[in-house]
């Protein structure tokens, strides 16, 4: 629990403005040239009569490697050629080129768009037909993720952001796009974590917190905030609306890496909760290329644990029976390479399966409204009782 004062985070946006701008300019120029190279390659092949192709690294489980040393999931070297003259790829080829062109426009205009905005920017009717360029936003989102990997550029470098999801409150002052945000004075709602939290957008200014408590859901987070948990325990309190989006994960990673704050996760005792923890800790398959800057290998799982049913003397009412999908999912998770050799996790999943039921964080409310904030979490932290 190192208390590292702010390093880069102490600087305000104003006094680093010049340098930041220069850095952004350089970064944008690089992204631009990547896009132009992509288009050049397609044009060159087309004009010489060769089949135009775009190389897209594969984002599948088979192309994901477990780096045991770093403790994260990484994308392998596998890549696919996206061909124009292939019935199943012709449309996505066209979409890739459309989005490339849109991104170039965005960079030139120095503006950013949401994923939904990108969907609309690329959306029109293909000339001479009744077919739309994109059927829905999912199709567009997939193409953008492909572009991230094939250009080797991050989403923010492409001037794209996702909608906000996730909240922060606690003993820290942030600078977001030059504005100071004092997370101690956020009322009952908290500060919404933006999609892009890179250091050029967000800096850490004054941080007294000693750790971060991340909870799964907004409802639980509200309980902690109302009880002023972060004040009493001098910490930062975050929530990610279930599976935390990239912005939340990146912020936690930076808090962990740059300020040395340990991350504790309070999630449900079910396969989904375990999976969220797994993604936060090691990264996910579809975003394996981002693991390097999103994964938090040192994140800790403090609960809910299968044993809590007995230790906290909960009633039968809190049990939610595991269905077949849950059992299947639990077994899959138990077989993840990073869980497979972890005796603690094997026991945990086993215990849950043996119980035959799952439990939500809210189940602790049956004991007392503030049981989770006043007894459960403090005691776990005191006893250093967690899984990691």
């Amino acid at each position: 629990m190192a208390k590292k004062a702010t390093s880069g985070g102490t600087k305000t946006a104003r006094d680093t403005g010049g340098r930041t701008n220069a850095r952004i300019k350089a970064r944008d120029a690089e992204t631009q040239s990547k896009i132009v190279t992509l288009a050049d390659n397609v044009a060159k092949r087309a004009l010489s009569g060769a089949e135009p192709v775009i190389t897209v690294p594969t984002r599948t489980k088979s192309n994901t490697e477990w780096n045991a040393k770093k403790g994260i999931l990484q994308m392998g070297k596998g890549a696919q050629e996206r061909q124009l003259f292939n019935l199943s790829q012709a449309k996505s080829f066209m979409q890739t080129m459309l989005h490339s062109s849109s991104i170039k426009d965005l960079i030139a205009a120095e503006k950013t768009l949401s994923l939904r905005g990108m969907f609309y920017k690329g959306l029109h009717t293909v000339a001479g037909t009744k077919e739309k360029t994109f059927q829905d936003q999912d199709e567009s989102d997939g193409i953008l993720e492909d572009l991230e990997v094939s250009l080797g550029a991050l989403r923010e470098e492409l001037h794209i952001f996702a909608k906000k999801a996730g909240t922060i409150v606690g003993n820290i002052t942030l600078v977001d796009s030059g504005d100071e945000i004092d997370c101690r004075r956020m009322g009952s709602g908290g500060y919404a974590i933006p999609s892009i939290v890179e250091s050029d957008i967000m800096q850490f200014k004054k941080c007294d917190a000693k750790f971060v408590l991340h909870v799964e859901k907004n409802t639980v987070w509200s309980r902690f905030n109302e009880d002023r948990f972060w004040e009493k325990h001098n910490c930062i309190l975050t929530e990610g609306g279930g599976q935390p989006p990239r912005g939340v994960r990146r912020l936690l990673r930076r808090l962990n890496e740059e300020l040395g704050l340990p991350i504790y996760c309070l999630l449900d005792c079910d396969p989904w909760g375990h999976y969220i923890y797994s993604v936060m800790k090691q990264g996910s398959i579809s975003l394996a290329f981002e693991s390097e800057r999103l994964a938090i290998p040192s994140a800790k799982f403090i609960g809910i644990r299968a044993k809590d049913y007995y230790e906290c003397e909960l009633t039968d009412d809190v049990q939610i029976a595991l269905n077949d999908t849950d059992i299947k999912r639990a077994k899959e998770i138990a077989a993840y390479p990073w869980f497979e050799k972890h005796k603690g996790w094997q026991r945990e999943i086993d215990a849950m399966l043996k119980n035959g039921f799952k439990m939500e964080v809210e189940s602790l409310i049956t004991k007392d409204i503030s049981y989770v904030t006043e007894e459960y979490v403090p005691e776990r932290l005191r006893k250093r009782d967690w899984l990691d």
């Binding site: 132009v36 288009a39 080129m97 062109s101 001479g128 360029t133």
Partner: protein, 663 residues
Amino acid sequence: MTPVTASPDPAKTRSKTSTRGATAEEMATRQRDISVSEFFAKNRHLLGFDNPRKALLTTVKEAVDNSLDACEEAGILPDLAVIIEDLQPDRPATAKSSRYRVTIVDNGPGIVRKQVENIFGRLLYGSKFHRLKMSRGQQGIGISAAGMYGLITTGRPMLIYTKPKASQPAHHIELAMNTKTNRAEVTIDEETQDFPPQRLRAVSPGARQLASEGAFLAPTDFKTGTSVSIELEGRYQKGRGSVDEFLELTAIANPHARIVFVPPSRSSADEEDVLPLPKGLQRGAESAATPVPPAAPAVTTESNGVTIFPRAVHELPPETKEIQPHPKGIELGILLQMLKDYEATEKGGTLFQFLQDRFCRISAATASSMCSAIKVTSRTKVADIEPRQAEALFKQFEDAKLPPPPTDCLAPIGVRQLLAGMLKGVRAEFYAASSREAEVYRGRPFQIEAAIAFGGELPGDETARVIRFANRVPLLFQQSACSSFKAVTETAWKNYNLSQPKGSLPVGPLVIMIHMASVWVPFTSESKEAIADYDEIRKEMKLALMECGRKLGTYLRKRQKMRRESERRDVFERYIGEIAKAINAINGTDAKKLYDKLLEQARQRTAVADQQLDEDGKIVRDEEPDPDGVIIVTQPSTPVPGAAAIDGDAKRRGGKTETPSLF
């Protein structure tokens, strides 16, 4: 057709009559000959006069069959006019039937005066019953029965004009049949120069116009010929089993005939449950002022209410030979009858001679070995043959190894003519035909031909239409009882890329034609509506259908592949424009140049895949000629201007303008 006589068995009559009080003597007073005509007057359904609608059809059918047979036998290309006049045009709309005058005019050889009464006034009189020769009519019932029906329902006699010699005047005869005596009674008998009858050229505005162009009953085209008019109680209604369908199918099976049809001014409303004819079998409405260019294939046309089925081929079917019966095809009773007949005509003729004279395929050697087998000598007279010996001889027939009967007695339509006929009457995009070799059933030679038409304007979501012919005569009723229907359902159409519910007709835009040519077509009934289901016949039908099916399958596979390719090309070409634009926006590459280059590549790539692969996966050359017996119409024949205005529901399938239907 054996004469119907009541000949009660006396022993039987006595046994149980006592309780009713009638004695054999009393009954004998009531027992007498029944005239054949009288019998049919009471049983007219047996001859196809069951109801007014069918009666009208049967009348037309019998007259047309006779005319075509007569023309062909005389070596004349048939030119027929079929005219139906409505004699009660003011009848209420609810009337179930009306009085019609049916007139059929042909350019045939005419009939010599002294035969007129026999041909038109007697049942079971004719030249065709006694011989084994391929012809339309067989039993000599037809036209006289129609005349009798007319007489019964309207009391009007038949009106006949016939001109057997071009240089001499025509005969004008009116005759009525006496149903009691089976003899005709002539009421008018005079000579006239009015042939073809002038009156007929003006029966309707359409007929008048056509006649003024010299295309209808021109005296120069009818130097000889016969005109028969019958007045009858009938019902003119279009649809399945109508006069229209009959003529349309007749035209398909007789591409060498020209038929002009003048229908009555009004037809009955479709209040009855009559199946409508499927669309697609219909004609283009071309104004008579713009006749079909001579180069275009002959297509049925309609103008001003008159339908013209043009001549599609200009040669007559080959002349058919009459053959003697084959020993394998007769029954014992017939053999006995033949022996009796022989004795009657050739007094004292020998069995040895009889066998060679009255049968085909019996050589002198075979005849003598048969004689010795039944222990008679070659000199034994027919008169001396005992029934026991005749039976032994019949046994010999069954056991003997004989060559099949000669087949030159058959005149198949022929693949080319089949295609011409189908092309004329059915608007499709693909036509295939197949003509099998002659085969034999029960000692009688027969030959099966099949043709199919696919696609085009035929409705795609209905079961296939089967059109059946026997000796070029369309069979309109009792489809499911017909051997050909069974042959179609038993053919595995799925193999040829068509869908087919189990045990039924295939579904798709398909017309299937089956023709059986034989010296004796085995009908299931006297009304000649269905072919009896002999294994040999059905097998040949299936083989013919399979041959057509294979050609269709090849075509459909080819078409499917082409369609798939063009879809592929379509997909590529669709996106190329977008891609060129996007790249131009990114790096300024000339969008037009890029587009052209990509388009070229797309075309090349789909062209490679365009190549057809045959069943063995080899590349089929494009210039390979179409196989024999296939016609592919890439574009349906001339669309008709103004057709939409005539036909209310003209817009159908693919927005194609439909040609007005007669049906």
